[in-house]
């Protein structure tokens, strides 16, 4: 066991340049896998954020009394799928409009004295799927005049959400396959270059395990170092990029670089690296063992 490990280390050192280039290949392949994972995680996160921002608006009778409003709010909170309710007075509504269209503020000038906006409540749902049922429940509440929500947007978001999930998974998986192929091929070629050595070892009475072990450990080391380097690089770049994005596009929701995210990347890359490196070399060898 220790012997095999020492042999693996010697093997890597003996073939310095080759090992370095294989490491680089592993690094590149795993970086791509990690980057795809990060993009996928961010898209999912963005979608989640957008989804949570989605809400249903219910316009109330004009001149409704504060007590009635209180009752309505209480009733709305009971509806399943509702995560939050806010009351927006006509004055607040006008302010909101003004903020949304600050550059066209003059358009709204005439409305100040003669506010045409009805009082309304904004209802946040727990997810896109709940919007339709919440809206219909809202319609049943007395004092609610009209209920609006972005039907089209809702459907699209649902569709995009589904597609994102599938595409993201497909992306990560296919990048995983790419890593496996690229790393595996580089290992395979390394072993081809040593096929004579392997044949000789067998003739001298080495067991398959004895021959495989150093290659296996070599692959493990390669995979491990490649994964750690790739993780380090990605985390560094992500740290810098997310800082830059936060400054430039403050409204863009970016997954924060916290413990779990770091752990995820490290886990994915190290496991892929070890698995491909170790089993890649073990499997590639089988051809020359039988």
């Amino acid at each position: 066991m220790f012997h095999a490990f020492a042999e693996a280390w010697k093997g890597l050192r003996r073939n310095g340049l080759s090992s370095f280039l294989s490491l680089l290949t592993t690094f590149i392949a795993l970086s791509l896998l990690g980057a795809t994972f990060l993009v996928e995680a961010n898209l999912r996160y963005m979608f989640k954020t957008v989804e949570q921002g989605m809400d249903v608006q219910a316009f109330l009778k004009k001149g409704i009394s504060p007590t009635e409003i209180g009752e309505i709010l209480a009733a709305v909170k009971e509806i399943p799928g509702v995560s939050d309710v806010t009351y927006v007075s006509p004055e607040d509504g006008l302010k909101e409009l003004r903020e949304m269209f600050q550059d066209m503020a003059s358009v709204l000038d005439g409305l100040e004295t003669n506010n045409p906006l009805p009082p309304k409540i904004e209802v946040k749902t727990t997810g896109v799927e709940e919007i339709v049922s919440v809206a219909s429940s809202l319609r049943g509440i007395p004092g609610v005049e009209d209920v609006i929500y972005q039907k089209e947007a809702q459907k699209k978001l649902e569709a995009i959400g589904r597609v994102l999930q599938i595409a993201g998974l497909a992306g990560v998986i296919s990048m995983g396959v790419v890593s496996v192929l690229v790393i595996g091929n580089s290992i395979r070629l390394t072993i081809i270059a040593r096929r004579h050595e392997v044949a000789i070892m067998k003739l001298v009475g080495a067991t398959d395990g004895f021959i495989t072990a150093p290659f296996f450990f070599e692959g493990l080391l390669l995979g491990f170092f490649g994964a750690v380097a790739a993780s380090g690089m990605l985390i560094g770049v992500y740290y810098w990029l997310s800082g830059w994005l936060a400054a430039t596009l403050p409204y863009l929701p970016v997954l924060p670089l916290d413990g779990p995210l770091t752990t995820d990347i490290l886990t994915i890359l190290v496991i892929t690296g070890l698995a491909v490196g170790g089993f890649g070399s073990a499997l590639s060898l089988r051809k020359y063992l039988t």
Binding site: E197, I200, L203, V204, T207, D208
Partner: protein, 226 residues
């Protein structure tokens, strides 16, 4: 110890390297395998350590039926046999010392023991000084002597040597043949394929002559040719 029964070996289905071979070698025997180039000497030796399997017939060595041997058993079987390959088969990326040590490392020989035995084997073939050289840095004869040292270091029950002196001068060849003879005296069964007429004639051992894949002569205390 070694028994071949009606052995036939064809390569690629049409090149007959051996046919109708019946041969028995007892423990402690010393056998010369002679015959022209392409007669099947190496093929016969390859059958004995199971690098090749016969197309027909039975080969049994050290009490094992090689045709029935499980794949996982082969390495353990080979450890009981020392082989000097015709093309040396040294590990290119290891030093002379490591090449010889490798034959012991595959068994579970303790490290101290390995050191002692390897240095001893290198001493016998007169290569102690070159122990840190890589095979490409050796002369043809030196490489051949490394191959011999590797076969001897394990003190095998059977020693197979395929043209072990093809790259050696007469006096070094003489030493090698003496070495084989001494190993034989200590009980090792020895089978040597060779073209070294002078030594075969001088040593008066059993001679098996192959020609076109058949045994055409098998005499005790024989000579290279009739």
């Amino acid at each position: 110890m070694i028994r071949l029964k009606n052995v036939e070996k064809t390569y690629n289905g049409h090149i007959t390297a051996l046919s109708g071979i019946n041969l028995q070698v007892e423990k402690g025997e010393f056998v010369f395998l002679v015959g022209p180039s392409g007669a099947g000497k190496s093929t016969l030796i390859k059958l004995l350590y199971r690098e090749e399997v016969p197309t027909k017939g039975e080969v049994s060595v050290l009490g094992e039926d090689l045709g029935r041997m499980r794949r996982s058993q082969i390495p353990f079987f080979r450890r009981r046999i020392g082989v000097v390959f015709q093309d040396f088969k040294l590990l290119e990326d290891r030093t002379v010392y490591e090449n010889v040590a490798f034959a012991l490392r595959v068994t579970n020989c303790p490290a101290r023991e390995i050191q002692k035995r390897v240095m001893n084997a290198l001493h016998i073939v007169n290569l102690r000084d070159r122990r840190d050289a890589y095979p490409q840095e050796l002369s043809g004869g030196e490489q051949q002597r490394v191959a011999i040292a590797r076969a001897l270091v394990r003190k095998p029950e059977i020693l197979l040597a395929d043209e072990p002196t093809g790259n050696l001068d007469p006096s070094t060849s003489m030493e090698i043949f003496r070495l084989l003879e001494r190993a034989n005296l200590y009980g090792t069964t020895v089978v040597v394929a060779t073209h070294a007429r002078a030594f075969v004639d001088a040593m008066k051992k059993r001679v098996v002559e192959l020609r076109d894949g058949r045994i055409v002569r098998d005499v005790r205390r024989g000579s290279y040719s009739e």
